[in-house]
Every structure is written in C-alpha cells, then in structure tokens.
Amino acid sequence: MKQIFVRPERCMGCKSCEIGCAVQHSKDKTLYSAVLQSPAPMKRLFVEAGENIRMPIICRHCEDAPCLNACISGCLYRDEKGFVRRRKERCIGCWTCIMVCPFGVITRDREKHIAVKCDRCHKLEVPACVNACPTHALVMVDVDEMSKEKRHMVILTESKAISHQ
C-alpha cells in the first residue's frame, strides 16, 4: 500500500501542503472560496521548523493509534483502508484524542466544537498535501518499494566505498 513519505531535506517550509489541505477541507474546495470562507477551513497537518530541519508533521494513522484507543465517544474509527477517521456526529469535544496524540496533529474546531484530524483525503487518489508540494518533500511511496530502493542505495554507497579503498 502507498503511504505518505516525508523527505525533510526537500522541504522549504513553504506551507503549500497546509494550504492544499485546508482548501481540500473547505466547502467548495477551491482556493478562492476557501480564502473567503468564514470561519476559515482548517488544515490537518503542520509545517514545523526545528534546529536544522523543516517538515510537515502529518498524522501517521498509527497502527496502534493512541487517539483511537482513547476516544471515549466512539467517534474515531479505522476505516476499510486503514485510515483513522471520525464519525463527526459522535464527537462531543472531550479532547482526549488531543491529550494523547504524540505528534500533536489533532486540533479543535472551535465553531463546531469537535476534534479535527487528517482523513488522508480518503476519496482522492493522491492526498491534497502531497499534490500541493512543489518540491516533492511529500510523496506517495509504496512501502515495500521504498525499502527496496533504500537497500539499493546502501549497496551502491557501500560498493563505492569498497572500490575506493
């Protein structure tokens, strides 16, 4: 299965992913109407900067998801594709999921009074954040392919190192 893969070395911190996400979760799903929507549509990922690093922090849809485990209302569930999603009408705004998410990617919708999180754009082939990223810091990668590619890279560097000895 394809997963969102983050490559921090390519991230410029432009926040296009945040905008793409908010637009996708706006009423009309266009930038122009999203800008005018009030209250503004909410993003579900966050570009953060550390000492020598910039990158979007995204929901991992954890295999053993703390938010899902802690939800006291039956709002959070895992869908058939494995994504952790909301049954919005069940959320009462108890914020337990915010208390336990170690990535800090669940936030409050103050208007609707419910928790907001990434739904992995489950209706789209490519999530809006990935689609919006101009530098391919966010890419869709098949997990098995990724490890194959990594192995390949390691072999290449190792063999170069040996040949230089």
Partner: protein
Amino acid sequence: MHHVIIGGSIAGISAAKAIRNNNANAEITLISGENVTAYYRPMIPVLIDGQKAEVDITYPDDPIEKYRLNAVYEMATDVDVQSKDVLLSSGKRIKFDRLLIATGSVPIIPDIPGIKGQGIFTLRTMEDAIKIRDARSVAENAVVIGGGLVGIKAAEALKSTVNVTIIEKLSQILYQRLDRRGAEIISLALKNEGITILTEDSVVEIIRDGGNVKAVRLASGSTINADIVIIAIGVRPDMDIFKDSGIKISKGIQVNELLQTNIPDIYAAGDVVEFRELLTGISSVSALWSNAMEMGRIAGMNMTGADRRYPGFLTVMNATEIAGIPMIAVGIIEPEGREYEIITEDSIDSYKRFVFKGDLLVGVIFIGDIKNAGIYTNLIKNQIPMGGLKEKAIEGTMGYVNFIN
C-alpha cells in the same frame, strides 16, 4: 479453552477483543450486570440534558456480535477458584479455563441520615443517567455532593433547567486533577454559568418531607433546598464478591505485571485493579477509562498466551471541557519534595502549569490552550528527557519536529 470475563465495560470489552484477535476459536463469555448494549461509560452525562440519546453512546458495532461473545446478563456473586466456576445470581454456575475480573468500580455512598430512599442519585451507569434525566424534568433544585469531574459534569447537565449547588468538602474543586489556580479558573467559569459552588462544607443530613427529599443540611449549619441529590464523592473497586474467594485483595485486586492475580488462571483489569502508579511507584487504584482499556487489552493478550507486561498507569490523565473551557491534566500535579520545579504561565485566556523533576517533565495542566498537549503527555508517560527543550516547552513553541534527528 473457555475465557470468562466478569464485567461488560471497557476493560472487559478490550480484553474480549484481544482474546478474539489472538484466538479465532476460543469460547468467550462476557458476564454483565447491566442488561444493555455495550456503551461508552464516560459519555453518560450527556444523556441527562438530552444532548445525546442512548443509541448515540452505545458502541457502533456491538462487541457481543463483533467478537462473537456469549453474553450473560446477570450479576456474578462469587468465584470458586478450586472448581473454576463463576457463580451467578440465578444460582447458575459458569465454568472457566481463564477468568478476567473487570468489575470496575462503584460509587462511594456517604453514611448520612436520610441518604436512603427517593431523590438520591449516583452517576455511574446508563441507568443512573436516565434516572437523573427523568427526575430533572420535574426538579427545581439540585445539590451535587462532590466537586470532582463526575459531580461537575452532572451539575453542568442539570444547570439549564435546575438550580444547582455543588458542595465540596475540600478547599477546591477538582482536587488531584487541578492545582488551586486551575480550580479557581474553572470555578469562576462554572459560577458564571449559574452554578453555585460551596467549598470546605459538607452535607450532614438529607431532610425529607413525607419521604421526598426537601433539602440538605450542611456542616456549616445552613440548609439548601433540593429535590435531587447527586452523590459524586468518588468510586471504589467493585470487589466485594471476591472477599472470601481466595483472590488477593487490598485497595483493589492485586495483580502482577501480567495482570494475573495470585490464582494463575484468574486475571484482573480496569478500575478494580490495584497496581503501581507509573511516575510515583505508589500502589493505587485508577478509575480512568484509558487505563482500563489498556489493562483489558494486556490482560486479554496474556490470557491467550502472550507475555505482555503492564508498565503501570498515570492516576491523572484527564481531558475535558468544563463551562466552555478545554482542560487537560496529566501526571503529577501537586508534587511533594524539593526535587520538583513548578513553572506556571498565566495569561488572559490560558493557564499552564509544568512540573519538572530535573530534566524530566512529570506533570502538566493546560487550561484554555491545549494545543500539542499529546506531545507533553508522551514526554511524561515515557519519561523522555527534555534535553534543551524545556524553554520551548514552557513557551508553547515545542513541536514534534524538535524530536526528529
């Protein structure tokens, strides 16, 4: 292999799920004294004012069907550890190979004159909440005994149509969850919603008129009119039936790290368990949903042959919203000892309290602004050193990115 679980709430259900996931063929019997579809217990306060109906707080997928359980809606009355039987109120016996005790806890009822009879409520089960909902429609005045989370939730659910007074014995509400300043903020917000809060006072008598509750008399001497009295002074493990069973009991049912009692084929999980608090190491009981869920899962796995160790629970790990203010409290709130450092940040719309022990964060309170709270919870729960991040943590500029190398 026949797995029997006593208790149909979260500890029992998450154990049933774990057993089923590890063993597709095991026979699993769930004994529940509550004859209702499994529901989310922390949600019951929202039934009182009709914000949600019963169907909205039951599990979307009935665990009885989902995990193929035999449901027995009866009270367990005893366990015969020799013959490996659970005795039921009907006189029936159920044989088990492995047993899980997940009976949870029951409200503590203070021994005061007039406490027995009409007009007195607790808020522990769906049935309790429905009874309060019914009483609310004809009530004018309510007294809530106890200013903890349950009492406050009950008060908030009643306040739109009923005059509510919370009576708290201690000098602050939400003791153990919040510090004094935090409690002040929440108290003020509750008062602004029209709820009266009396601290350092207690109910010494329920005054009745022809059987009906009329008022309560306080230790301070005054009386307050009431037609509903809600008792919310805390809970205790529901373990009376095991007293003479041979299962080791102290503050709760005693278990090892596998959540196994002194009887090898009998496990326990949830509110009924006595275990060590993660940060202090103090042996105690917890009455938190998330802890019960985690224990149930681990017990269930171990009952089907796994070797999962339970690390212990945090006594304080609460998130909620009171009077429109979001709040989160995790870990050690009021530390004792000079090795702790307390830092507070108080602004117009947010209050934060951090408790550090050297380079470790051991407790936080967030009121108003709860952004990124989970990152802090993770630091506390896993005792991850702050490194150079202490200042950023206090400023609120610490993010997950700071933990990526």
